[in-house]
Amino acid sequence: MKKVLLLTVLFLATAVTYAGGYRVSLQGNKALAMGHTGVAVINSSELVFFNPAGLVYLENKLSVSVGAHGVLADVSYQNSATGETAMTEAGVGTPFYAYISYQANDWLAFGLGIYTPYGSTVEYEDDWAGSHLVNNIALQAIFVQPSVSIKLSDKFSVGGGPIYATGGVNFNKNLNRTLVDLDGNRSEVTLEQTGISNWGWTASAMLKASENLTVGANYRSEIILSAEDGDATFENVPNSPLTPFADTTFNADLPLPAELTMGLSYKHNDFLFAFDYNMTYWSAYESLSVDFADELITDTNLLRNYKDASTYRFGVQYEASESFTLRGGYYFDESPVQPGYFAPETPRNDSNGYTAGLTFKVGDRLEIDASFLYLQFNEVDASYDYFVEGSGGPAGLINQYSSFRGTYKSSVFVPGLGITYKL
């Protein structure tokens, strides 16, 4: 009963989730089961995301894929020097996707995708050891992408389309490590903005090099979500002109970085092998800068200095029977976080993703896709060395960087379920 309840919660929860940086690579159950490869896999309308150029090679007039993933992510923290510990609240994120493709004629196809490639939900206990960096954060972004796919020759096609991104953020942190009101309650700020939107684009190409070998490339542009006049709410602030933290509005930019994918697939009898390489241009994320409208409040500048990061993905598919297709995969996901910049709101080190899944055919048109991802992290000793205690103390207190360090261990399990309908 409890599990059923959890399952219900799983599909009701709206928050998106935890991922590399805040990239959530869960854009299709078929692809995820194969290590989230797909830039050169002609399988279903998941291609709207992975490579719209390939849509034109789909065999069906109409192909629809809808699904979601339940992300069970937890992070443990401990500092062996002080004995402090923390564990994120076990939340469940549900990234989802819906793709449709339509073959207009033998050289032209259209597609439409709605998916959630970025997001993060991390919730620590209030006032935990790293509360000056984050108490909790919920970041969500939904992409809507119309696409066109054009076959330039029997072997080569191009595709792409505009992307409309819309998102929101809710971020709560304590103002610094020590500021309290008269009763000892920690001073905190909540930054909230919803309905932030912006435009981007994607472009891709696919080459059917031979009967069995397919090569693909896909590029998705950076989209900067600019919060303007978001709400900054301060709580538990001392009644003092030295701490002038009155509720105000803020501006902040959050980049959703560009991503380049190149890959290939090779078909051998009932087997299909796929390899994808992703480069995510995380270097766009230099800092989380919050510009408060109230000039009395010092702007916040949390350095991030992410680096561009690669992901290497391998997948295999086996058509076991008329009804069943089995899939497996592996990927290595490089963290964009550099030493000294490991912040607990995206506590992410390198990880190994192990995936599996299957498709069960229900008649000619309907397929049920299931997948499972286990993301394995090693323990990592890491620190964020660039927190400035900042305002909130009497003049003369020496302000220098403090370091927040400790050992982190993450664990992520992602079961997913979807359907594919082909006409």
Partner: protein, 512 residues
């Protein structure tokens, strides 16, 4: 279809069950930290205000929660430490009541206020204390530290008798949680059967004298404590007897522990914030003031020497001379010969007022210590109708505001004696000896570097000391906890984790 769903639920269940990431060596695992040869299951703290968590001139709840014994007890939790109880007050306003009436000396806490230009100043928090010492708390507590106590008070029966508060024989803080009117602090502490203890007493045996400019008596050579006033310096023999009795009682059942010595007064901002040289004068004013003292310097002092009332050396020390620039204030020094009676007689026949003013007058020197409360007195004109009556210039700064070099030497001598006794007892009983004197001297001289800053003994800005200039901030108390844990780990081969003092706060900002 049905199977697939079952499969998915199965996967989900696996995920839910095995989701919690676990460390290979978790700090919460048994044995990650080591108690060594010590047993922290019942920890008892003894001492005075520093150990009770007093801050900002009084006792209030959040300060108690940041007392160094409480911080240590939290860390002992990693090595088998048990519950740690404290006689917590009812509020964060601070202060104590006795039968509903405010108790003198236990007012509301100081907070750092700021004027409209952002200039900070300490101010008493507006509010009414709600903690009544007549409303008895059920002691004993693990933190048996008693605000205001001296070494020998901890072994004195009746120190917690509420009937003795008015007469000064009992302590209101202890009266609040003493197990009986005749109990002693040490007996109450021992009744908890401590397996580990910390003892940091003796500060008030010298500070009570020093903090009031040495108005008491140095009882060196008199070990009869029944003759002592509160502002007196305790005789080392009396100190040794009381301290030794406490150590004996605490170690009788084999408990381990640490003894903490007494810091120098010059480590505390109460004694270092107001400069000895603080009176700015221009040339004209200096000249005018010197004219006022010309008769004293040129006629009275030589006459006093001539009549054998004072020595030439004392006369030299009593000469008043102001110059253009920053000057030392004039002060009353009760170690000078009181000449007020002599001056009223022939040949001077000075009026009584003037004779009293000059009675024990001299100008401060760089060896004198002007205490923190003098900052609100120096340079003021107490009589609004007399703008020329300026404290420190034409009115001597009262003795209570000045710890003279002579008085400070008594404090230093006593502190050294006490610390030698403490160190000796620690060695004799295989207890940890915590040299807080050296640790706080280092804070005062070079500052203590921590993760995110430097803690110094600078008033307000140093971060270590609360607004009363004697007691510590949460950060200062966290520093003390680490200081003591270091000694515990060394003495008892333990590995109790320390705290990051940068995460502990400093002074509290608040405008009434």
């Amino acid at each position: 279809m049905k199977n697939t769903i079952k499969f998915m639920i199965g996967l989900l269940a696996i995920g839910l069950v095995s989701c919690e990431p676990e460390f290979e060596n978790a700090v919460t695992d048994e044995g990650f930290y080591d108690a060594g040869d010590a047993d922290f299951s019942t920890y008892v703290s003894l001492g005075a205000s520093i150990s009770a968590g007093t801050a900002d001139g009084t006792i209030y709840r959040s300060a108690q929660e940041n007392s160094y014994p409480n911080i240590m007890a939290q860390q002992f939790g990693f090595v088998g430490g048990g519950d740690f109880t404290q006689p917590l007050t009812s509020d964060n306003v601070g202060g104590l009541l006795l039968n509903g009436e405010p108790l003198p000396g236990y007012g509301t806490r100081l907070v750092l206020s700021a004027d409209e230009n952002g200039n900070p100043f300490p101010a008493p928090l507006a509010g009414t204390p709600t903690t009544d010492v007549a409303t008895s708390e059920a002691g004993p507590f693990n933190n048996m530290a008693v605000d205001g106590s001296k070494s020998f008070n901890l072994v004195t029966p009746g120190y917690g008798d509420i009937a003795g508060i008015a007469g000064g024989t009992a302590n209101p803080w202890y009266a609040r949680f003493a197990t009986s009117a005749s109990s002693t602090v040490i007996d109450d502490a021992v009744s908890l059967n401590p397996t580990f203890f910390s003892l940091w007493t003796g500060n008030n045996d010298v500070y009570s004298y020093a903090s009031q400019g040495g108005i008491g008596v140095d009882q060196l050579g008199n070990s009869d404590i029944s003759t002592y006033g509160y502002r007196d310096i305790t005789d080392p023999n009396a100190f040794a007897a009381a301290y030794g009795a406490q150590v004996d009682a605490l170690t009788a059942n084999g408990a381990k522990g640490v003894l903490v010595n007494i810091p120098d007064v010059t480590s505390l901002p109460y004694f270092t914030t107001v400069p000895a040289q603080s009176i700015p004068l221009d040339a004209a004013t200096a000249g005018a003031v010197n004219d006022l003292f010309a008769q004293y310097n040129d006629q009275i002092l030589p006459l006093l020497v001539q009549f054998g009332v004072i020595t030439q050396e004392e006369a030299d020390s009593r000469v008043v001379n102001f110059v253009e620039g920053i000057n030392y204030p004039i002060i009353t020094d009760d170690d000078l010969t009181d000449v007020s009676q002599v001056l009223q007689g022939p040949p001077g026949n000075l009026p009584e007022d003037l004779a009293n003013l000059l009675g024990q007058l001299r100008q401060a020197t760089s060896d004198d210590i002007i205490i923190l409360p003098a900052s609100s007195v120096l340079g003021t004109t107490p009589d609004p109708s007399n703008p020329l009556g300026v404290v420190g210039v034409s009115i001597p700064l009262q003795d209570v505001f000045v710890l003279t070099s002579t008085e400070k030497a008594r404090v230093d001598t006593a502190t050294q004696s006490f610390n030698a006794i403490i160190e000796g007892l620690a060695a004799a009983n295989d207890l940890g000896y915590v040299d807080s004197k050296a640790a706080l001297a280092q804070v005062a001289s070079t500052g203590h570097v921590f993760n995110g800053g430097v803690m110094t003994n600078a008033y307000v800005t140093g971060g270590g000391f609360s607004l009363d200039g004697v007691h510590l901030t949460p950060r200062g108390y966290a520093f003390c906890a680490n200081m003591i844990i270091d000694v515990i780990n060394t003495t008892y081969n333990a590995s109790v984790p320390k705290v990051d003092i940068g995460t502990y706060g400093t002074v509290t900002l608040h405008n009434n």
